[in-house]
Symmetry: C2
Subunit: 261 residues, 2 copies
């Protein structure tokens, strides 16, 4: 059992902050699903911390960890809770290396379906969109315009393992994303309640970059201007709008359906 | 300014618990959007509590409240936080009467699109599904099989006002919902990862009841057996499944699209 004041444990605790993750290039993946997916990728997991209960419950993960040369240490319930950004700590946390790629890398292999989050700041929404993008067969999710850190604990958790499946890039300037997307042959569809074109009227078969904005403010005006088409998800009832992750699910599944024969 | 120990304030605080809501038939609607929608329905709002900042920021809501004969009382920031189930209290909370209808009532007028949540227990997901159901033009959302209380503060908040737009029924036994839906001429589509029929293969034009299950366990076996069709939302990538609210968005928008000419 590691002491609660162990130095590696203290360093891991620092990864619950965005700054700690940025400075070290590492992040935390909590819970059996995230840890399992992380262990499937080579050289991603640095070390694994687990409570006695976590070790007993998820014994099937110990063998892949050991064969990958990943140290596994038992920690107290209190220490595990200190590594958790969720209400119910899972008793199992992996310290991982970030694996963000460049914009050029995620757009390199003739992508058909790509998502850009522009200023999205709810980590739960971002993680849910990662999961939906993966389910819809998207190639990559690009975080831009001061969006939430994709390696935020709540985002990792909400992605339910999909963080490890899709290409991820973090790009400061949305204009750079639009230029690169055009260069990669992607149409750019910007979602906005004030969009001139209804989702159901679009030809969704061509390779597409979907742009989703901030939960409250939507997409910035310059991004709306620069995007190819401004698209409205139709509202048939009395709701003012859809939740960001729900709107993304409707758009990405419409694309996935249209892009398949 | 009401004292923090005021009796009406104490009674309102009791509505942050499911038991308090059940025993009094009341619930709390927090924030300007929910309060605005609640005030639009007659006899729904019992009283309104607001902080000084809340009163100043949302002055446009005071006139409708007063003309509806709804008492408005200023409370301290601490008292307002005590009425809040969210991380960032909004400084504006309405005490409302529950307005749940019977199963017969929500199915009375030839409904075309109805949702049943069976054992869904995440209030954020439930509220997001209420919002999506409203946006997709659904007639009603039925909470059954020990689903979360629709008047839970987090559910009210996530519904973004849509709680006040769609018919809501709470029914203990899912079997009763299936029988009533059949009687109302609805096809019943049960969503499950193991569904034999792909969403894209279904004729979604007829009047439909969509069944969504628990976030972790899905729908109970007896409900799956009794439902007309077991439907799978296709997974094109490597995700194991979709988030419940994202799956609901994909299904409900597919129905809304198919039911319109």
């Amino acid at each position: 059992l590691l002491s609660d004041s162990n130095a590696r444990l203290a360093a891991a605790r620092g990864l619950t902050s965005s700054r700690g993750r940025r400075e070290t290039g590492r992040f935390l993946a909590e819970g059996p699903q995230a840890v399992r997916e992380a262990l499937r990728r080579p050289d991603l997991v640095v070390e694994l911390f687990a409570t006695a209960a976590g070790l007993a419950k998820h014994a099937e993960l110990l063998e892949p960890a050991r064969s990958a040369g990943v140290p596994v240490d038992e920690v107290s319930d209190k220490a595990a809770a200190g590594l958790s950004e969720t209400v119910t700590p899972q008793g199992l946390v992996a310290v991982c290396n970030r694996f963000t790629r460049s914009l050029a890398q995620v757009l390199a292999h003739e992508p058909k379906l790509v998502v850009a989050l522009v200023g999205a700041n709810d980590p739960g929404n971002a993680g849910t969109i990662l999961r939906t993008a993966d389910a819809a067969g998207a190639d990559a999710v690009i975080f831009t315009g001061n969006s939430v850190d994709p390696y935020n604990g709540k985002c990792v958790r909400a992605s339910a393992g999909s963080l490890f499946h899709v290409g991820i890039a973090v790009v400061d300037d949305p204009a750079e994303v639009l230029t690169a997307a055009a260069g990669a042959g992607l149409l750019t569809f910007a979602t906005t309640g004030a969009g001139a074109i209804d989702l159901d009227q679009l030809d969704l078969a061509p390779p597409t970059l979907w742009l989703f904005g901030n939960e409250a403010r939507g997409l910035p005006e310059d991004v709306l201007q620069a995007a190819g088409v401004r698209v409205r998800v139709p509202i048939y009832g009395r709701a003012e709008s859809l939740n960001l992750a729900s709107a993304a699910a409707v758009c990405l599944y419409a694309s996935a359906r249209a892009q398949r024969p």
